[in-house]
Each structure stands twice: as structure tokens, then as C-alpha cells.
């Protein structure tokens, strides 16, 4: 498997290198779909310039990266393109190894269950074969590296690629069972953009499952591990924040980064749901709806964690997808990360209900974004409603996609315990409904 992976990496890096050198790189880095006020390269450069002048980079309202990122780029600014290509490669490799490990575990579990005769007889066709699973890690890496969204994001030098790399490393270390690294990377991801906080729950569930500790409030071992993990997480988060403070000697970054993410002052259009809504709203209701919108991102953690507590890796996928749909400044780079996981759920394909519709809508919307932007901003013949309509449709399609996968996953699990051909009590054929 090493040869195809190497080939893939070479192809991916070549495409990026060629695009970096072409004239469209500049065009891409201006697109609102690809860069947001949070991760635009232009703003990183601005922050660096301010830093070099001895001014706080957070003076003014341009720079919203974390202090660690600015110091990181302070040293590697000359190699920025290579850094971004490396970040993508790293993400892909991390996902590759993570999914490979995960598949091994899934397969082992399946074997035990088969040996214990736990599956109903008619479910044999749902059993996954090693042959079918062989190419999945490679496909995951391919989905990430060759996804046009990732390529655009990388060519625009959006720092979203770095965040993705951190999250991918977090997933890898979690799946490898390394609690310390997992906590550190999770803290780093949280430090970068707050929202990955919701990945705490799946990581904890996964690590507990790996150590065979049941999620039970009365067991001291559960509390002990929870305390350990929380301590590692908060400890490393604290270290990072203190480090940031000592680097710049001010707490400005808290309001400029986290305040900026949470209170959404910049309403530049993007592919998310916030900008139009808050541009239209009366100032009076703003605080209330900001709270509603932000709580919305975090809220799904609770029901999903309860429903998927046996399947933490799928929960990670769901959480990443929810973050990238509902976060305040989403870009296509965020979408690319969760889309990379889709090959890992290949076996759910037969239970997906509207994958065709969703993929057509996603495809059409991706093409319509620049067209409607052109009509709105350059030609002046359309207006913001056109663009927002497409944003809305794009997000609805994403939500449908995610909920479709969720339904398919639950349905497969249901069949694995209750048999494939369900009968009602009266003997007629039954169908499953997601409630």
C-alpha cells in the first residue's frame, strides 16, 4: 500500500505546486468561499507586519489568528507554500493511519461477534470483508488530498489547512489510544478555533472503550479516567494560553480571536449561515440570536453522544461535520475534512436514501457560488439574496448528507442486532423510521 500512497502524495503536491505558481492562486485567495476573516493569508501577513513593527498584531481589526500561529509563521514565512503543502500531506497521512487502525479494530470486533454468533443469520451480507476494507484508508487520503475544496484551500494558503492537520493528528492519536497526545492535540485544536471542544466527548468515549472502562457513573475507574483526561486537556490548554500571553505580553488575543469567533462581528458573506441572518437582524435581538446560533453548534454533542456512545469514531465524524456546517466562519476547507471520512462509511452506501440528490445539489451549489457572487458584486444585477439562497441550499444539502449517513449508520446497527428483513408483529414487512 505504500506505493499508491506515495504516488498519491506526489500527485497531490504537484497539483498544489503548479497552482501556487499559476496566476489563479491570487484569484483563489480572494474568494470568500475559500478564505474567511479568521484564516485569510492576507491577514496573517498583515499581522506579521504589525508584529515586526513592534505593534500588537491585534491592534486594528484585521488579524484574528492565535499568537502561536503568528509566531509559527514568523519563522517559516519564507516557506509558507511548503508549510501548507506539508500540512495537507500530514492531514492525509494522519487520516490514512487513523482509518487503517480503526478498520482493524472494527474487523476484530466483527470477528469476535461472528465467533460468538451474535449476528442474525440473514445479516451475513452486511458483514464487511477485509478485501473491501483494504482500500479504504487510501481512499480516505485520496478524498482529502484530491478534493477540489482542499486544493483550493491550500492554494489560497488558508490556515484552515493547519487546523485540519491538528484535528487529524488528534484523531490519529485518539485512535492509537494515546490519551496524552490526544488531549494535547484536542487542546491545540480548541485553542485554534474553540469549536473542536465538542470532540472532547467522542475522544473520551473512545479512550474509555479502548481501556474497557464502562461509562457508568458509579464506577470510580470511570471518574478517575475522566479526571485524568480533563486534567491533561485543561492543563495543555492552560499552557498554550499562558504561552500566548507571555509571547505577546497581553490578553488582547482572547477578545480578538475567541471574541471574534463567538460574537461574529464580521459579516462578510461566506458559505455559512451567520452573515445574512445577522446582517438583516435588528441590533436589539443580536445577542439573543448569537447565543442561539452558537449554542446550536455545541448542543448536538449531548444527544449524539448518548445515541452513538458505542461508536465514538462515527461520532467524531458527525461532530466535525456539524462544526463545519454551523460554525460562524466556515470555509470549504472545513467541509473537505469531514468529506474525507465518507469512504470510511462505504458500507453504509446501501442504506443511504438521497445521496444522488445531495451530491447533485452540492455540485451545483459549488458551481453557482462564484456565478452568483459575480452577478451580485461585479455585474450588480443580482443581490445578496441570490447568494444567500445558494448558501442555504448548500447547507441544507450538507445537513441532509450528514443526517443520511447518521440514519444509515443507525439502521445498519439495528439490522445487525435484529436481522435484515424486519417483520412487524403481525408478520408484514416493516420499515425503519428515524425518530
Amino acid at each position: 500500500m505504500a506505493a499508491p500512497l506515495t504516488l498519491l502524495l506526489i500527485v497531490a503536491v504537484t497539483i498544489r505546486a503548479v497552482l501556487f505558481r499559476s496566476s489563479i492562486a491570487e484569484l483563489i485567495s480572494e474568494r470568500v468561499e475559500v478564505v474567511s476573516p479568521l484564516n485569510a493569508w492576507k491577514r496573517v501577513v498583515e499581522g506579521l507586519a504589525l508584529l515586526d513593527l513592534g505593534v500588537s498584531p491585534y491592534a486594528g481589526d484585521v488579524f484574528h489568528e492565535t499568537p502561536l500561529i503568528i509566531y509559527f509563521f514568523h519563522f517559516v514565512i519564507d516557506y509558507a507554500e511548503i508549510v501548507f503543502m506539508m500540512a495537507d500531506t500530514l492531514t492525509a497521512l494522519a487520516l490514512y493511519f487513523a482509518v487503517k487502525d480503526y478498520n482493524k479494530i472494527v474487523f476484530r470486533k466483527q470477528k469476535y461477534a461472528l465467533e460468538a454468533d451474535r449476528y442474525p443469520l440473514d445479516c451475513l451480507e452486511l458483514i464487511r470483508s477485509p478485501r473491501e476494507m483494504l482500500y479504504i484508508p487510501l481512499k480516505v487520503a485520496m478524498f482529502y488530498l484530491l478534493n477540489p475544496f482542499t486544493i483550493l484551500s491550500c492554494v489560497a494558503k488558508s490556515t484552515c489547512g493547519l487546523n485540519n492537520a491538528v484535528i487529524a493528528l488528534f484523531i490519529l492519536s485518539t485512535i492509537k489510544g494515546n490519551a496524552l497526545m490526544s488531549a494535547i492535540f484536542l487542546a491545540l485544536a480548541t485553542y485554534q478555533s474553540i469549536y473542536p471542544l465538542t470532540l472532547f466527548a467522542p475522544a473520551l468515549l473512545y479512550l474509555l472503550q479502548r481501556l474497557y472502562i464502562p461509562v457508568n457513573w458509579r464506577r470510580p475507574s470511570f471518574w478517575l479516567f475522566l479526571a485524568q483526561y480533563v486534567f491533561m486537556y485543561l492543563g495543555s490548554l492552560g499552557v498554550m494560553i499562558c504561552l500566548s500571553f507571555f509571547l505577546l505580553n497581553s490578553w488582547d488575543f482572547l477578545s480578538s480571536v475567541y471574541g471574534f469567533i463567538l460574537s461574529v462581528p464580521d459579516l462578510t458573506p461566506n458559505i455559512g449561515l451567520f452573515w445574512y441572518f445577522f446582517a438583516e437582524m435588528f441590533e436589539h435581538f443580536r445577542l439573543f440570536f448569537i447565543c442561539v446560533f452558537q449554542i446550536n453548534v455545541f448542543f448536538y454533542t449531548i444527544p449524539l453522544s448518548i445515541k452513538l456512545k458505542e461508536h465514538p469514531v462515527f461520532l467524531i465524524f458527525m461532530q466535525i461535520a456539524i462544526i463545519s456546517i454551523f460554525k460562524s466562519y466556515p470555509t470549504v476547507g472545513d467541509i473537505a475534512l469531514y468529506m474525507a471520512f465518507l469512504p470510511a462509511w462505504n458500507h453504509l452506501y446501501r442504506f443511504l436514501r438521497n445521496i444522488f440528490l445531495v451530491s447533485v445539489v452540492l455540485l451545483a451549489c459549488s458551481a453557482l457560488f462564484p456565478v452568483l457572487w459575480h452577478l451580485w458584486i461585479y455585474a450588480g444585477s443580482a443581490n445578496s439574496n441570490f447568494y444567500y439562497a445558494i448558501t442555504l441550499l448548500f447547507n441544507v444539502a450538507q445537513i441532509l448528507l450528514v443526517s443520511d449517513y447518521f440514519y444509515a449508520y443507525l439502521r445498519r446497527e439495528h439490522h445487525l442486532t435484529h436481522g435484515l428483513y424486519l417483520k412487524r408483529k403481525d408478520g408484514s414487512e416493516a420499515t425503519l423510521v428515524l425518530k
Binding site: R131, F356, V360, L375, A379, G380, S381
Partner: protein
């Protein structure tokens, strides 16, 4: 596997499926033709309050004097053999304008045989009348071209006359810029880019020394005779962009008020919509507009303003054999009225429609009415795609027992799908880049001029693309499967649907015309359809041939039909103009056709010859 699939294949062309596609197609075409029927269209009305409810009076008295200035201009032009810059500067200065000049040079990628130019060198002269009543943050433009030969002298004369008269009025709240541009669109492009500090097409021009405020609206005047019988309004701009409908309304309102005959597409309004000839008149007018819009060209000097979000139109004086003549004073009064109304604007024209078709000057079809016609055509593509998807899904469970088999079948599948896609697009890239790049080589080896070389190379590459399927298959070792062409066709259908949809949003006419020709072949082409008739049908409906029909149809609608040979020559010149428009002004039609539409058509061609 083929055995499993043989059953769905035979039912593939069941009558129902063909029927609903045909019905959709006919419904789309009928809907489109119905748009010209008067009861289905809306009456135009002035939406902009600032222009609708206020009264202005027109007093421009000096038509004769303007014509005299025009004659003087003509004399100087003739003496110098080009734009009389010094005379223009002196005259404008004597009228109290701030006068500036801008020189520009432009080397065309290849000689333009229609206008006989290659190395273009010229000067724009413009004078700014500063607004006495407001803070000079906004401006209006009145332009007249300084053309070769004897045309448009009266336009420049009237422009200067109006400048003199406007100068003496106190009510101007916006700067008025009087611009005389040389070499029509090339000069206009240089001036606009200089004004807005952009350089999109790599022209070489000197920076502007003086500016007014941000330009709100512009009119370009073309007038070649002392008296006129009617005024024609030209709206179509670059890439099919149209000005706000209120500008057309304004023009029409003043023509009504002052009593000037006004036309659009050179066609008068008729009131007998119940009669067949009345309907066909409206349909002709609308179709002329559709063809002009689809061409993506700027059909007057105003066309480039639209790119900068400036509402603009060209007003063209027509002198035909009608009895009823209008003199220059009346035209001057009309322009005065329009500028006074535009002067009253509080914000940019935005109240009325931007997407419309006009079957006559008083009637328009808005986007909500014409989009369904396109939607019905695009719907066929989506229906066929859904159909294919279902067929693909139906054949997949057949391999439940042999998952391993499917793995093997699908891995060369990706390659066999990707190869045609990549090769078609490379052909597209060749069609886009080679004609201009290889003109020198072609001129050395063949006895043709540069322009012919470019056009003929383009046609040659276009034709050579037809040989691709055979070579594509030679590249691929394995043979294409049933599944393979279905997936490829699914991809091509979705590609085409998205492509046409996006095109129709930017330029409805282009999208609709392409849909008319491409949808039938996209819907019905399969490797099992009879080879030769299908191949002939595909070639006849290919984008290149569509362009040829459009050329003939356009001539027919303008009531100057051409012979086959002239039509062919016209077709060649249209291609060269399209390429020139792209490299000079950034028109998108040529790259769209070469880089996207043509490869898409090649994909379908590949499916027909799938082995």
C-alpha cells in the same frame, strides 16, 4: 454482467421515457416562443421614483449650431486624417469644460479584417463639466465615437453643442463628462480602465489626469445624418449584460414626450398583437435580442460601461425613407431631458429589472417568465441523469455475492472514465490556446492571412476533436463496459446541466441557445443508437454548427438574408471577432465554448463511439 444488463437496456428507450423528454423539450420551446405574445408580457413602467414623478423641461435650442460644429469637426478630421485632438481640446476649453486627453496604444493579437486594424494608436478627449450644485461625487457620461470616414460627425457636433448648453445651466448635481473616444471600443476600454485604475486585458494607455465622481449612468450617441427618422436603442453589452430596465424606460418616456419615433433592434413597435404578423414581428424583435445577447459582444460603445456597474445604453440615429423627420434640436432636447432626469437620481438605478428580454420597447419579459423555458430544457437533463442513476443502482445489487468482482471491475472503470474527460478538456485547451499561438507558423506554411490562419486553425482543431474517441480507446487497454458509459454519461449530463445553468444565469440567451442544441443529443445519445444517423445528428447539433445557424438566422431576422457563401464568410468573421472580443475586452463566450461546452460535447461524442 452484460447478461444482467441486457434487460434494462432494451427497456432503456421505452416510449414513456422518450415521450416525457420530447414533451419537456417542446414545452420549453413553446414557452420561449410564447414569451413574445403580448398578453403574456408585462408593460414597462418607470420604477425609479427619482425619475418618475419629477417634471423636467427641455429647452435645448442650438441644433443648427451643433450641426455646424459637427461639420467643422468633420473638416478638421479630414484634414488631419484622424482625431483632431487639438481642435477638440480648444473647442471644449472654449466652452468652459476641464479638458483632458488620454493616449493609448494596442496591438491586436491578429489583424482585425472587419475594421482593418492591427496596431492601434489613438487619443481620447474628454471634458468635465463640474457640478455647480453638489459635492461632485457622482458623474454622468455622454460619449460619441470619433469614427473613420464620414460617420458620427453629427454625434460629436451635438455632444459639443450640448456641452455648451449644459454649461450655462445651474441645476447640475452630478459632474457631466463629455467623451469623444477614438477607435470605438478599444478607446472606450482604455478610458474606462484608466478611469477605474484597472487593467484587465493588458492594454497600454496613459493614466487619466482628471476625474469626476463615480459614474452613475452613461449614454453613447451615434448620429450620422443631419436629420433622422427614428432613434434606435441598443442595450446589449459585454457578456450579454443589460443595463437596468429603467434606462430603457427613460428613453422611451422621452421619445413619447417629445414625439420621436423610437425602435429597438431597429424594429418599430406594432399594436396588432392579435394578428399573426404582429406576433411574428414581436417574436423577431425578441429573437434578435436573444441572438445579440448570446453573442456576448458589446453592440455599442456603451457595452463596456456595464462591467463597471454603470448603467449605459447606446442611442443610434437612423435615417431611412420615412416621411417624418426629426432634427438635431429635437434629439438634443431628448438628451437634455434624459440627463436632467438622470441628474435627479439619488442612488444608482436599481429599482427595475436587470434580467429581461424585450419583444418591443413597451413590453418586457422578466427573468421569472423566461427562466421556466430554460428550466424545462435543463429538467430533461436532470430527469435523464436520475433515470441513469436508477439504472446503475438497479444493476449494482446483482453483484451482491461477488463483491470482489465488482472491485476489480470498478478500478479500471475510474481510469476509463477519467481518460475521456481529461482528453476532451485538453482538446478544449488546445482549441483555446493554439489558434493565436500558432498563427505565425500557419502563415509561413500556408498561403493565408493571419486572421484566416487563426480562424482556420480553430476550425481544424475543432474538427480534429471528432477523431478523439478512437484514439481514446487506443490509449485504454481494457474495453469499456456497459456500466462505464452509463457512469460517463451520468457525469456528462450533470456537467452539462450545471454548465448550462450557470451560463443561463449570467447570459440567459447563450444558455438557452446552447441548451436548445445540446439537450436533445445529451438526452438520447447511447452507444447502442444507430451509429451514422446519430453521428450526423450530433455534428449538426454541435456548438460550432449552432453558431453557423445563428449567423444565418440573425441575417434572416435583420431582413438582409445572405447566400451560403457569404454566410460562411460571415461565420468565419464571427469566429475571429469572438476571439478578438475575448482578448481585447475580456468577453467570456469564446473561452466558455472552447474550454467547457466543446469538451462536454466531446464527452457525449465519446459515449456514442463507446466500445
Amino acid at each position: 454482467m452484460p447478461m444482467i444488463l441486457s434487460h434494462p437496456r432494451t427497456s432503456n428507450f421505452s416510449l414513456g421515457r422518450i415521450l416525457n423528454s420530447v414533451v419537456c423539450y417542446l414545452a420549453g420551446v413553446m414557452w420561449f416562443m410564447g414569451l413574445a405574445f403580448e398578453p403574456f408580457t408585462l408593460r414597462t413602467y418607470m420604477s425609479e421614483n427619482a425619475m418618475g414623478s419629477t417634471m423636467v423641461e427641455e429647452h435645448f435650442p442650438a441644433g443648427e449650431r451643433a450641426l455646424a460644429t459637427g461639420r467643422e469637426f468633420a473638416a478638421h478630421k479630414k484634414k488631419i486624417g484622424g482625431m483632431p485632438v487639438d481642435w477638440l481640446v480648444k473647442t471644449m476649453e472654449s466652452q468652459g469644460l476641464e479638458v483632458f486627453t488620454q493616449s493609448f496604444t494596442r496591438k491586436l493579437p491578429f489583424p482585425d479584417e472587419n475594421k482593418e486594424r492591427y496596431m492601434v494608436r489613438g487619443t481620447n478627449v474628454y471634458g468635465i463639466l463640474r457640478a455647480p450644485r453638489a459635492s461632485r461625487t457622482e458623474a454622468l457620461v455622454l460619449s460619441a465615437p470619433c469614427s473613420e470616414g464620414n460617420s458620427n460627425n453629427q454625434a460629436v457636433g451635438l455632444l459639443l453643442g450640448l456641452a455648451r448648453y449644459f454649461r450655462s445651466q445651474v441645476y447640475w448635481a452630478k459632474d457631466i463628462i463629455f467623451l469623444v473616444n477614438e477607435h470605438d471600443l478599444i478607446g472606450m476600454q482604455a478610458w474606462l480602465e484608466g478611469y477605474h485604475h484597472t487593467n484587465t486585458t493588458g492594454g497600454d494607455w496613459s493614466p487619466l489626469q482628471g476625474r469626476g465622481g463615480s459614474i452613475q449612468a452613461a449614454l453613447s450617441l451615434e448620429l450620422s445624418s443631419d436629420v433622422i427618422t427614428s432613434l434606435d436603442l441598443v442595450l446589449e453589452g459585454l457578456n450579454g449584460q443589460l443595463p437596468n430596465l429603467d434606462l430603457a424606460n427613460l428613453f422611451h418616456a422621452f421619445c413619447q414626450k417629445i414625439g420621436v419615433l423610437c425602435t429597438i433592434q431597429g424594429k418599430l413597435q406594432r399594436n396588432d398583437w392579435e394578428s399573426t404578423s404582429g406576433y411574428s414581428h414581436a417574436a423577431q424583435t425578441m429573437m434578435l435580442m436573444v441572438l445579440k445577447q448570446a453573442s456576448g459582444r458589446a453592440w455599442g460603445d456603451h457595452g463596456l460601461f456595464l462591467r463597471y456597474h454603470i448603467e449605459a445604453a447606446t442611442i443610434r440615429g437612423v435615417n431611412s425613407f420615412r416621411q417624418y423627420k426629426t432634427d438635431a434640436t429635437t434629439v438634443g432636447r431628448l438628451l437634455e431631458g434624459m440627463y436632467r432626469k438622470l441628474n435627479n437620481l439619488l442612488e444608482r438605478l436599481h429599482q427595475s429589472y436587470f434580467f429581461y428580454l424585450m419583444p418591443s420597447l413597451t413590453r418586457f419579459v422578466s427573468i421569472g417568465y423566461y427562466m421556466p423555458a430554460f428550466g424545462l430544457l435543463a429538467g430533461i437533463l436532470l430527469l435523464r441523469a436520475l433515470d441513469l442513476w436508477v439504472q446503475l443502482g438497479a444493476s449494482a445489487p446483482g453483484t451482491e455475492d461477488g463483491l470482489a468482482e465488482r472491485e476489480q471491475a470498478s478500478s479500471p472503470g475510474v481510469l476509463s472514465l477519467l481518460t475521456p474527460v481529461v482528453i476532451s478538456h485538453l482538446t478544449g485547451v488546445a482549441l483555446y490556446t493554439l489558434p493565436i499561438r500558432s498563427q505565425e507558423m500557419a502563415v509561413q506554411h500556408f498561403p493565408v492571412s493571419e486572421t484566416e490562419a487563426v480562424v482556420l486553425t480553430a476550425i481544424a482543431i475543432y474538427t480534429a476533436g471528432l477523431a478523439l474517441p478512437h484514439n481514446t480507446h487506443r490509449l485504454l487497454q481494457g474495453e469499456g463496459t456497459e456500466q462505464g458509459w452509463r457512469v460517463l454519461k451520468l457525469a456528462a449530463l450533470l456537467y452539462l446541466a450545471v454548465l448550462l445553468g450557470c451560463t443561463a444565469l449570467i447570459n440567459f440567451s447563450l444558455g438557452f441557445i446552447l441548451a436548445l442544441s445540446l439537450v436533445p443529443i445529451a438526452a438520447f445519445i447511447t452507444p447502442h443508437s444507430p451509429k451514422y444517423p446519430s453521428a450526423v445528428a450530433m455534428v449538426l447539433l454541435s456548438p460550432g454548427c449552432t453558431l453557423l445557424y445563428c449567423v444565418f438566422l440573425f441575417q434572416e431576422l435583420q431582413e438582409i438574408p445572405v447566400s451560403l457563401h457569404d454566410g460562411w464568410m460571415l461565420f468565419l468573421s464571427v469566429i475571429s471577432q469572438g476571439i478578438l472580443d475575448h482578448s481585447l475586452y475580456g468577453s467570456l463566450v469564446y473561452p466558455l465554448l472552447a474550454l467547457l461546452v466543446y469538451p462536454c460535447w466531446l464527452l457525449l461524442w465519446n459515449i456514442l463511439f463507446w466500445k
